[in-house]
């Protein structure tokens, strides 16, 4: 069960052509990749155009590296990464490499510098990455529109100066945006050798004549490209000329139906009773049944291994969104490898019903542990959270947010702490696969979820960090850091009014520096939390001097307001007495 099942009907016909023109060397580079199978769904179709800067020594190398590097590296990024993440990461790496290569030149412009424009077509969307003065146009229903902005400044006497390009600076500023795809859309990528010598209007008219409805095969598209280049040459182009054309025959809109068609063939299992056998797994007992799913302990009839079987609730038998999520759960789980995350088991005998299996880990959940013991020792709590962080980092490395860190989703086994349940995970890359059904949003109250879920601000790995902070606090004190008022918070001002009770007030054994770490992870403003979980882990294990000062404790333990009130009161009394005596 994975994305391989999902087939796309995204159908594009492409053509491209690049010519040195009147120049001796062609410093332009172009490339298009149309993968098949799962990569087409997860990653889409990529077209890249790059114009190596003539002033630089390595222009030709730079453009060629950028195009070939992007085409191969983009497809090797993780499937769960979003187009934006994948594209930006790859482009940044390329930029750094080109910049490094150019370091021995005295001026940056002389190094390995190139423009870069790419369009990625995926799930009825077009994603645009753009740096420099190459262009991307979109022709829709006969109207041409330039969808990139030229990063070039005119410096008089007709000369133009490239304001932004790949390889100039260590920091790369990339324009990124997303557009909807419609059948019939035509994308045109050009370098300045073409668009400087063809007015937009002329290009539009020309495209109208060379690309018709009947231009169906790649060869015809290629020849259309050649004709446009020939026209630009005819207009006196002095530069290298490159052009790429992508015509959308089918944007892949009904993809969601395909997704469903491939999975909805598996029926929901009926409510299972102990003793029943499903695909070779014998049901031993029911672990949990809620209105959303049913979880059973099962045993493999062949070899006696135990596993946990999670089945969807019949309540959602015809809810495509729920089914999609359910399948995604297993898919997410199977891609996360960590000793601290429960493993997904591939059913050895295959399956005839919709469910998934995870390894069986014996042991109580942290929730059960807390109910028994109220709170844990500082060492145990530190240990548990360190392991939880290691598990959670495995999620984050794959661009996945767990989103439901709470005591009941952690098992405390003799083999260590395991994070269970992938039911609330958010996967960046998959979030983009368009579904017509809007996702459910949490409305109610959750003691462990970060404020940003309710405030509708950006959710990030820091939101998981907040949950972890609540968890650690609870392990140490048995209480919620903000008390019962937390789950009533709805608006920003409610959160601002929250009062944090330091954990050492409830459990004197908690060191001050540890409370400092928790407090930072629990910042209402995500910006104030740790930038990375690794730093949080470090501060949990070793005292951070910043939080070690006794002043904070003194201030907390010694109520200064009351102290000064008493002082003022005493002084007032003394004054009155003196006054009376004097009188």
């Amino acid at each position: 069960m994975s994305l391989e099942h999902m087939s796309s009907r995204l159908d594009v016909v492409v053509g491209q052509y690049s010519s040195a023109g009147i120049k001796a060397v062609n410093e332009d580079a172009i490339g298009i990749r149309i993968p098949d199978g799962s990569a087409l769904i997860a990653k889409g179709i990529v077209a890249v155009i790059a114009d190596g800067v003539s002033a630089s020594e390595g222009g030709k190398v730079a453009s060629a590296t950028a195009v070939s590097g992007f085409l191969s590296d983009y497809y090797s990024t993780h499937d769960t990464w979003s187009v934006e993440t994948s594209g930006s990461k790859v482009l940044n790496a390329l930029n750094r490499w080109l910049y490094g290569q150019g370091q021995h030149y005295t001026t940056a412009e002389k190094g390995y510098v190139t423009t870069f424009s790419a369009v990625i077509l995926k799930s009825s969307s077009a994603y645009v990455f753009h740096v420099g003065d190459s262009r991307i146009y979109r022709i829709r229903a006969g109207d041409i529109e330039q969808i990139t902005r030229d990063h070039a400044t005119a410096v008089g006497n007709g000369q133009r100066y490239l304001a932004r390009a790949v390889g100039i600076d260590l920091n790369l500023d990339v324009d990124f945006h997303r557009l909807d795809l419609l059948a019939g859309d035509l994308f045109v990528l050009t370098t300045d050798g073409v668009h400087e010598w063809l007015k937009t209007r002329e290009l539009q008219d020309l495209l109208h004549t060379v690309v018709s409805e009947n231009t169906v095969d790649a060869r015809a598209m290629d020849s259309a490209c050649e004709q446009i280049v020939a026209r630009a040459m005819g207009n006196g182009s002095t530069d290298n000329l490159s052009i790429q054309l992508l015509r959308i025959n089918n944007p892949g809109q009904p993809e969601h139906d395909d997704v469903l068609a491939s999975v909805s063939t598996l029926p929901f299992p009926p409510a299972l009773q102990p003793g029943q056998i499903i695909d070779g797994w014998k049901v031993l007992s029911e672990i949990q049944a809620t209105s959303r799913s049913e979880v059973y302990l099962v045993e493999n009839q062949a070899d006696g291994t135990k596993a946990v079987l999670k089945a969807p609730s019949a309540n959602f038998m015809d809810d495509p969104e729920y089914i999609e999520r359910f399948i995604m759960e297993e898919w997410v789980g199977s891609r996360i490898a960590s000793a601290n995350v429960v493993k997904v088991i591939k059913p050895p005998q295959g399956r005839k019903f919709l469910y998934y299996l995870t390894e069986y880990v014996s042991g109580p959940t942290l929730g059960q542990l807390l109910r028994e013991r109220t709170r844990l020792s500082v060492v145990d709590a530190q240990n548990i959270i360190i392991q939880a962080i290691s598990g959670l980092r495995a999620f984050h490395r794959r661009d996945v947010l767990h989103q439901d860190i709470k005591p009941d989703n952690m098992i405390y086994s003799d083999k260590g702490v395991r994070i269970i349940d992938f039911g609330s995970c958010h996967v960046a890359g998959v979030g983009e696969i368009k579904t017509r059904i809007s996702r459910q949003k949490t409305l109610g109250t959750r003691d462990y979820c970060a404020p940003e879920y309710l405030l509708n601000t950006t959710i990030s790995a820091k939101s998981d960090q907040f949950s972890l902070g609540v968890l650690l606090y609870e392990l140490l004190t048995g209480k919620h850091p903000f008390g019962a008022t937390y789950h009533k918070c709805v608006e920003e001002k409610d959160f601002a009014r929250l009062h944090y009770t330091p954990s050492y007030k409830l459990n004197p054994l908690v060191p001050v520096w540890l409370d400092g770490a928790i407090r930072r992870a629990l910042s209402i403003d995500p910006e104030k939390r740790y930038p990375a979980l690794s730093e949080f882990a470090q501060d949990i294990q070793r005292p951070n001097p910043a939080y070690e000062s006794d002043r904070q404790v003194m201030a907390d333990r010694f109520n200064s307001v009351r102290f000064w009130k008493v002082v003022a009161g005493v002084l007032l009394l003394a004054n009155l007495l003196t006054w009376l005596i004097v009188l």
């Binding site: 009926p270 003793g275 809620t290 209105s291 609730s313 038998m317 495509p320 969104e321 409305l443």
Partner: protein
């Protein structure tokens, strides 16, 4: 770890505790909703009321329930079942006490109208029980919730006359007994707020994706759905017309006109909600896997119109009917006999579901509606010449078919479109209320015997309508003797 059984005695289990808390809340809402019916002669005497005025009061009691269902549904989405049910009971308690001490007929009528709100409590609990119970036992849990809660009207009919005459006594006895139910509802509302929780610990309360209207899957169904909303406004307008100077002159021409305008506004609002929910479908169509036939919903709604609608109507007029037919019968006895109708709820509703499982959905529903039609014809023949016992038996037989019919309707509801069960149940339920208003409005025009005939005739019409139901597909799995679960091959 028993799975599909619901062990009602295990109150350690939080979901069982929630079920008990919630059905009692619903029960009390029904007690308050129908606490006037068995006290008819006492109230009529105090206010020196005409029969027409009494009938108008009965109609007002169910009128506001129709729009209230829509509003309550939205509030539950927004605030969660716990807050809404508590507030509803507390408010009902207050209105109920005010009703008890009303000094004029106008005050009485206004408060009865406001109390109509409490009738919408049903939806809240359905949501609550749905959050707590897994799919395999939710049907049974909601059966218990609905059946035992509905019993509230019978309990009111049973106890209130005795309470009014024997316990409190005197001219104001009825006022005190109505107050008692109000205080009870008020206190329980607070208790419910303290004890009930929206979801099991650690779960999230999910807001439905789209609320305000039902998603349909074709343009034809869209218009059919809009059309299905029309009867509601028609009957509300007829009711207002009846109360206006053109009818019983309970409200002024001005008020009536305000009501008509209000109905138009409400209809436009509802239309815009439906349009919003279905906008996507109207422009892009809907995935093949997501299609369903709205006609199924429509037929079930009409079936509920004659079953639950007639039940609500009959429950509120039956104690009075016994009292009028058998001169010299005591008020307590009339109340008790009147409750005979609602009494059947405990067994009849589950039986209806069982029939439906056993003998086929369409056939069961047809036979049950046919049965209730005959039942109402029989009731229309009751005269003072009948022995009381025979009359009671006739009432109980009829009510068995009525409530079994309700059970059979709700046995089909979850099978139409699983993920929209809540909304489909909402529409069906709302039609039950439309039925009640329709029949009670009809009652204001005619005598009792004709009233029963009207129900019987409309039931025959609906019986023909039920033939349009297509049998929903059944189970796709079977369990072999060794316990292996396997798929049934569908050819």
């Amino acid at each position: 770890m028993s799975s599909s059984k619901v062990n009602l005695l295990d109150i350690q289990d939080p979901k069982i505790r929630t079920l008990h808390l919630t059905w009692v809340a619903f029960f009390l809402s029904f007690v308050v909703w129908f606490n006037h019916a068995p006290l008819k002669p006492l109230i009529m005497e105090t206010f020196n009321m005409s029969v027409d005025q009494w009938k108008a009061l009965l109609t007002l009691n169910v009128a506001l329930t129709i729009p209230a269902r829509i509003i309550i549904g939205m509030l539950v989405d927004r605030f969660g079942p716990r807050n809404v049910f508590s507030s509803l009971l507390v408010l009902a308690g207050i209105f109920c006490c005010l009703f008890a001490f009303a000094q004029t007929y106008q005050q009485l009528a206004l408060l009865r109208l406001l109390l109509g709100f409490v009738g919408a409590g049903f939806v809240i609990g359905i949501r609550m029980v749905g959050e707590w119970f897994p799919a395999k036992s939710v049907g049974l849990a909601q059966g218990i919730y609905g059946g035992w809660g509905n019993f509230g009207s019978a309990a009111a009919a049973f106890t209130l006359p005795t309470l009014a005459i024997v316990v409190f006594g005197g001219e104001n006895g009825w006022r005190y007994s109505v107050t008692a139910t109000g205080v009870l509802a008020f206190a329980y509302g607070i208790f419910y707020f303290l004890r009930a929780k929206n979801t099991p610990k650690g779960s999230t309360y999910f807001k439905p994706k789209r609320s305000g209207g039902l998603e349909v899957s074709s343009k034809r169904d869209y218009w059919l759905y809009i059309l299905m909303n029309v009867p509601m406004y028609v009957i509300l307008s007829v009711m207002v017309w009846k109360l206006s100077p053109a009818g019983t002159s309970l409200i002024s021409e001005m008020t009536a006109n305000v009501c008509y305008v209000l109905f138009v506004v409400l209809f436009v609002f509802q239309y815009s909600q439906i349009r919003k929910v279905n906008k996507e479908m109207l422009t892009h169509g809907v995935a093949e896997s997501d299609k369903y036939e709205f006609k199924q919903v429509a037929v079930l709604a009409w079936a509920y119109f004659v079953t639950f609608g007639s039940e609500l109507a009959v429950v509120s007029m039956l104690p009075g009917f016994f009292l009028d037919t058998y001169q010299g019968m005591s008020l307590a006895a009339a109340g008790a006999l009147g409750s005979a109708f609602a009494f059947m709820n405990l067994v009849a509703r589950p039986s209806g579901g069982w029939f439906s499982d056993k003998f086929g959905r369409r056939k069961s529903l047809t036979l049950l509606i046919g049965g209730l039609s005959i039942g109402y014809f029989v009731l229309s023949q009751i005269t003072s010449g009948w022995p009381v016992l025979l009359a009671v038996v006739a009432v109980m037989c009829c009510s068995f078919f009525v409530q079994a019919g309700e059970g059979a309707v709700f046995a089909i509801v979850p099978l139409i479109k699983r993920r929209m069960t809540g909304q489909i149940a909402g529409i069906t339920g709302a039609f039950g209320n439309v039925g009640a208003v329709t029949y009670l409005t009809a009652f204001t025009f005619v005598d009792t015997s004709t009233f029963f005939v009207i129900i019987a005739v409309s039931a025959i019409a609906v019986m023909f309508l039920t033939q349009f139901i297509s049998e929903p597909s059944g189970h796709t799995t079977e369990v072999l003797p060794d316990g292996t679960v396997q798929l049934i091959e569908v050819s």
